[in-house]
Amino acid sequence: MTVPGRDRTTRGHIVGEHVIGRTVAKLLIPFIQLYGFYVIAHGELGPGGGFQGGVILGASIILYTLAFDIEAARKRLSQKVSDLLSSTGVLIYGGIGLLCIAAGGAYLEYGKLPLGDAAFASHLGIYGIEIGVGITVAAVMITIFFETARREDA
């Protein structure tokens, strides 16, 4: 990742000298990620949900990429893992829908899941799909950022 408008030959070294940026990023990222998980988990109690939480999680990795560099970020979260995660989320969502059919309901009819009474089963089903949405959104945002920001000449 480079800062637009800087000299192309100094790419990769610009961010390397930013001690303050790196330290602040290191300090903040755990809290940002914790907040992301909180938003996903509390979508049914307050504002938020899988989509917003996923975006926050994705943003934390993007912050890491900006503070360090794309290679360092890829070491933490490899391409294979982020590709797998982006499809896993959709599969979780679709899979819960199929489980509902297997349990005798309609597609995505969470109340029919064999998890206690209908309202509780529905609650858990919604919880599950929120996690799925969060995983996909986070992974796709990271993927789009990595693929767009990567150097062409590398």
């Binding site: 637009p4 975006v55 529905s122």
Partner: protein, 188 residues
């Protein structure tokens, strides 16, 4: 009062974004626009929408646009022929008239709309009462915005997630180079 101030600031931001020649500054201003929009949503008691606007509009969109800028030039191209042609007054006057007419029609359209928060507005009489009264009993979820998104409109959200996934696949197909399959740069 504060609402008018926010809307005024919103318009100022939008005009600045369009006028700006430096694209990086324009992207940052767009982020500021989204953040003000998030405050407006909060003022309208639409906290879920405000949250999405703040995280997606002000946060991730800004980042992705900056990433896109890193692949191109920071300044807007100038001195090309289309730019000059746009600047000639021959096109400016009809454009202004067209914009004024469109604006007048839009404002005329809002006159017939019900007041904000009117309980008798058609939008509040259709499915909204059922969501408010029964969503907790039917879905077991306290926040009925989440109940609508995940349960009543579960197919929509599934489609939305699939769209995001598809966008990711498209970006990978268009921009990823085949030699980096293991995630590391190949030594060339």
């Amino acid at each position: 009062m504060i609402d008018l101030l926010l809307l005024l600031f919103l318009v100022v931001c939008a005009v600045v974004v369009v006028q700006m020649k430096d694209l990086l500054s324009a992207v940052i201003m767009l982020g500021a626009y989204s953040l003000i929009m998030a405050v407006v949503w909060t003022r309208l008691n639409a906290v879920d929408v405000a949250f999405t606007e703040a995280s997606v509009g002000a946060g991730i969109t800004t980042m992705l646009l900056i990433a896109a800028l890193s692949r191109t030039k920071r300044g807007e191209a100038s001195n090309n022929t289309s730019d000059k042609r746009l600047k000639s007054s021959r096109h400016q006057v009809p454009a202004l008239i067209l914009v004024l007419i469109t604006g007048a029609v839009l404002i005329y359209g809002t006159i017939d709309m019900p007041n904000f928060g009117d309980p008798n507005a058609p939008a509040n009489l259709h499915v909204a009462p059922r969501y408010i009264e029964k969503s907790y009993k039917e879905t077991g979820v306290v926040n009925f915005v989440t109940a609508v998104l995940a349960s009543y409109r579960g197919y929509d959200t599934l489609g939305e997630t699939t769209v995001i996934f598809t966008a990711g696949i498209c970006v990978v197909l268009l921009l990823r180079k085949n030699d980096g399959a293991s995630g590391r740069k190949s030594q060339r």
